[in-house]
Amino acid sequence: MAHQASGMSDDDMAALQKLSDDFQPEISGPLVGQREPSTAITAEYASADPVFQAKTASLPQKYSHYRKMRGDGKCGWRAIAFGYFEALIHFGNENKFVEEEARLRSLHNVVNNAGYSPYLYEDFADAVFDILRKLSVSLQIGNAEELLLESFNDETEQNYVITYFKTLTCSWMKAREGDYAPWLPGQSVTAFVDSQVMPIGSEIENVSMSALKDVLLSPASIQLEVLYLDRTDGVEPNMHRFDPQNSAHPIIGSIRLLYRPGHYDIVYKTEDVPQSTTSVQTYLQYHNETHNEPVMDLGMSDFMTMIPGMSYAGPQQSWLPGAGYGYSDYLASPPASMPALVESPELQSRTQSMYIPTPRTQMVPPSDEMPQDMDIRSDHHEETQPHFSGQSQTSPFRSSYYQFEPGFVSATSHVPFKTAIFKNSHFNTAHFLNPDFQPEEWRPEDEPMLMTNHSKGGRHNSFG
């Protein structure tokens, strides 16, 4: 007995068994549920034994959402079938649906050779082709996911789909007996498919799942992962990835299943979920973290060189201590900062900057969803207040290279420039990279014009 081997008392075993028994897959409810945040699974196991608690607690970090399958003994077939269509939708290419229909049709030779009569399986096949066509059309309208959910919650329609995929699986296994026979000791592939795949009440198991993946998913470049949530040691569910045979081709999507003994649900990573349901706001980044910010890794410096006047600015950014204006600030949308520009001519005239930075407090659009960042922002606000009274060393405006040299004197004048592009480039003698660097002079009579420039240059100003 297994429990004797693991050194557990019968009482312990009984207690654990009870917990295990307590997990009841939904036998009512929709056949395929809505996508929900996976924190619901964590909550479900909050009072389970520690291994399950730890594993389910770590789940939402990697897999943000899940979709419940009805636990009626067909959930594995259903989850993969649903995931297949969903991956095609997520890929978003109408031609792929046409391709898939053609590919599946071409498999019918294999199905015929396996001994299934076309007049019986064509009904099952047609149901799948109907869905493929329906989804291809609805891709443009944008309601593909609802349609799929609707189809899968029609029990008859779903039965057709599952039966077709079972038929393909059986045919494939019979055609490649050598690949699967070693996994089926003591029985022939034919006996196995007849007794354990094709019957209406047969749930998917490892060999049939592998065969379904081989015939349906891999050729469509869809990857299959299964997370096993069980009582083995560890703090995360064990993940098994069925590698696509066809690894030369890029993957167009992934189906991720969460397996709890006897039951499959679908889980999703954030990237599998359509954008509308996520709220990641990468532009809310501050201070030193600027250097670690993910956008830096995405070839941001190349992007920087495309901005007039920015060609040398990037590398110098990082050595400036406390340079609070990051790339992300640059990306922030200017409208929120406009009022500040109107209010602050006096301030700008007092500082050395020839570019017109905006106080950072106005650079970031307010966000209701991230209260922590709101706090951080208000901290900055207080910290940067002093510069408003003219302390240039703690200026909110990014310091120039020359500002750090001995004898640096704040510029007291401005030279108006015709365009923001020229003004910001090193061809401007007022640019610190210009060999003939000559700080701008400020003249009160230029003030109105400067204001015009300010608003035009607003987007670029933090990179002076």
Binding site: S117, L120, A127, E155, T156, N159, T167, P199, I200, S202
Partner: protein
Amino acid sequence: MSGNKRIMKEFADIQKDPPPGCIIKLLNEEDMNVWDVVMDGPADSPYTGGKFTVQVTLPKEYPFKPPVLSFRTKVYHPNVTNDERGAMCLGMLKADEWKPPNKIAEVLRLVRAVLAAPQPDDAVESGIAEQFKNDNKSYEKVAKEWTAKYAK
């Protein structure tokens, strides 16, 4: 709806090529889901010479639920219930073991094969099964009598 399409196809098919010893009609022309089958007792069995009426009821979920078979003719057999229902218990007709690509014609072939060769280990009438195993002569005698009496 699509279930009906399948049933219609199967019905057309079975009319063209009926399983041996079977005549298949609709019990009621309006209803595709109830088939009336008249089956000849298999040769070399106590049922020879008898004509057995079997009603095949196809659930509306067909082919995702198995057909239900019922002997309308009383038959003395270990695998057929000796009651009003006359149910024959075949593994392939269990809800969980039913395979959607199975055809009714195959089911009828199997019914006839079981009629010819009872499966006492899978019996629904354990008394008849015991007799079949331990006192085959008496079993054959009763089965013949019932065939002569009911299956004319």
